[in-house]
């Protein structure tokens, strides 16, 4: 039995700033995962990743990250590593959490 | 005369460039030369040192075996030309020279991305290095 596809978004780090960014629908990058464009199939996911990877002058290390969707179809990361990336370190109030 | 064990030279065409003294030159095969082509797996004891030229292939730029092979060739008194073949980075050029390489063969596409002026700029990095200073001071 085929397993249910887990929705994905594309994330990377910003080349100049180094911080975590997410690929959005207009081929631009956002610092907020809630803006990310969501892939609902594996084909969509690969296509998104390929598109994102073309922007080598902007980003480093794009990859797909599993997400879950809330009722408003907004994506949040599933894996604890990605939750930390979306938030910042736990020992200081630094990183993305300062903007939330 | 080409060495029997060497790989086919068909991939050296106008699509590659030789970097020599910081200048780009077209890669041409000089059939009068007695050339041996080796890669990182070569064992120094099995290399015929009477060749005019030894080409050391770098499968990847990050595979640094060629640097030690070139140095060993020079330590074994090989006096012919040593060429690195592979898309080495500009920043590896001074290292290659310091190990005993004379020239580097890179692809045309690589040469377009890392143009001649960049190779010339890094040439000065062969001066003022720690190892020379330790051994000669």
């Amino acid at each position: 039995m085929a397993r249910k596809f887990i929705e994905k978004i594309v994330t990377a780090n910003d080349l100049l700033q180094g911080d975590v960014i997410y690929f959005t629908k207009d081929n631009i990058w956002s610092r907020n995962h809630q803006d990310a464009i969501i892939a609902h199939t594996i084909e969509q996911a690969n296509e998104l990743l390929e598109k994102a990877e073309q922007q080598q002058d902007r980003i480093v290390g794009a990859y797909l990250s599993d997400v879950f969707l809330d009722e408003a179809q907004i994506a949040s990361p599933l894996h604890f590593r990605e939750i930390f990336r979306a938030r910042g370190p736990s020992n200081y109030f630094h990183g993305k959490q300062t903007n939330i | 005369m080409l060495h029997k064990q060497q790989k086919a030279f068909s991939n050296i065409t106008a699509k590659s460039i030789i970097v020599r003294n910081g200048f780009f030159e077209k890669a041409e095969i000089d059939n009068s030369k007695n050339i041996l082509e080796i890669d990182g797996n070569a064992k120094i004891s099995q290399i015929d040192l009477s060749k005019d030229m030894i080409i050391i292939e770098f499968e990847k730029f990050a595979d640094g075996r060629g640097f030690s092979l070139a140095k060993l060739l020079r330590q074994n008194r090989f006096e012919g030309v040593i060429r690195a073949k592979g898309n080495l980075l500009v920043d590896q050029y001074p290292l290659a020279i310091r190990c005993g390489f004379d020239e580097i063969e890179i692809s045309l596409a690589h040469a377009q991305r890392q143009p001649q002026n960049q190779w010339q700029e890094v040439l000065t990095r062969t001066n003022n290095n720690y190892l020379d200073r330790l051994m000669l001071a």
Partner: protein, 556 residues
Amino acid sequence: MYQYNQFDKHFVANRAKQFRSQVMRRLDGSLSEEEFRPLRLMNGLYLQLHAYMLRVAIPYGSLNSKQMHQLAYIANKYDKDYAHFTTRQNIQYNWPKLKDVPDILDDLAKVDMHAIQTSGNCIRNVTSDHFAGASIDEIADPRPSAELLRQYSTDHPQFQFLPRKFKIAISGSPNDRAVIKSHDIGLLMKYDESGNLGYEIYIGGGLGRSPFVGKLLKGFLPKADLLPYIEGIMVVYNLNGRRDNKYKARIKILVHENGIEKIKQEVEENFLIQKQNFKQPSDKLISAINERFKLPDFKQANIDNYKIELKQNAQFSNFIKNNISEHKNKDYSIISVSLKNIGETPGDATSKQMQILANLAKQYSHDELRISHEQNIILPHVHKSDLPKVFKELQKANLATNNIGLISDIIACPGMDYCSLATARSIPIAKQIAKHFNELNLEEEIGQLKLKISGCINACGHHHVGHIGILGLEKQGKESYQITLGGEENLSMNIGKRAGPGFSSDELLPAIKRLIEAYLSLRQNPDESFLASYKRLGEKPFINALYPKEEKANVA
């Protein structure tokens, strides 16, 4: 300590310029990320979870007050006003921007510092005894040899693209504080029977995925042969180390797969070639290096005030008991300043703390500081009459935590709070354990205990050699922690043994509590350390404490 000459200054400034050009070429597309990556790594620049990270070299852990001030200045100007001291005697900034890094390197070069070869598949910053040149038990100062190796390995043309990273450590004391047997090459300074100084050489040690204790490669190498011999090892490794699998690329695997005898033979053969070809550094150059490591002019002063303070001030005497080591000069002491303030991140210091330590070093420690692999800061030459004053200053700066060598003096890597390789967090675990035993006032009671935490199998937190080691992993989408027992550092290095299944982050502290309670009830007397009890009794009672019967039943 070593002072840069014009050559060094020129080299480091040039190297910063080169990095600026590399960044430009990355931005203009001349270099792809794949091509840029090894170049930025060999200049200390990583990309981590939330940001870039710049690792700055502190050669063999030694620096002066001016350099420490500059490190504080950089933390304040380009980062978040703090920095992290690492288990390899370096310092890391967690939040630099790529565009600022060339400026940071320029600022470092101004005080003779750099980030060269603090990462990448090259010979890394050579580490050494943090008490070098100060400790009473040292037979020879390892720093001149470490400095010679720094110069030799810096920008070595053959060895910038090795199969994998390469770490060398050197100790001048039989009480090896540099853990030399956990390095690719470990050097122990010793005298031969005729009284000549040289090195005992170990090879193929390492922690990480496949931990190995370094094996003896050469019983005695005369001092003058150091560079050609190291070159011999490096050539053998560069040509033969595995490049097909990065987890098998370290020299420890080459030694393991070929056997030490085969490697020894190849190294000796290559050493002969190198000896013929290698022009030795001139006596002038060697003595110029040695000159830089002369002992400071120790002062003479009455130490009665110190003796009185010891009797009258319990906090002071507790600090002295734990944080002081014996100096060559009987009127001097070595102070270990703990960066393990309870409840804070192991190894972190604020800019302000760095400045205070720099000032103390300038005024009271002959302008010297050291970073230990245990992530503490050392004031190596403090006259005993100055100890009360220094202690007071440390207290004011929240730097007088008297827990050196105790359970709360935890080594921990940055873990998944920062590191992109990590599989779990280590910092919160370290904080939690330290806080618990501190609150119960049990640290002294437990005594000497080395607890080390790594957030992944790469073992930057040295968990394999902790008396208690903790390894953070991922298990079914959650952080999980494996405990190892009986690891040991120093020349008797021993790899800790995995105790059993991992614990969730909630179960871990209770498990450590059970383990410590078992030790306290099992030890013969309060002087028997955790490790000694473990060695005497074997693992069984400790494993029973970690996995009590009823829990086993639940698991099953």
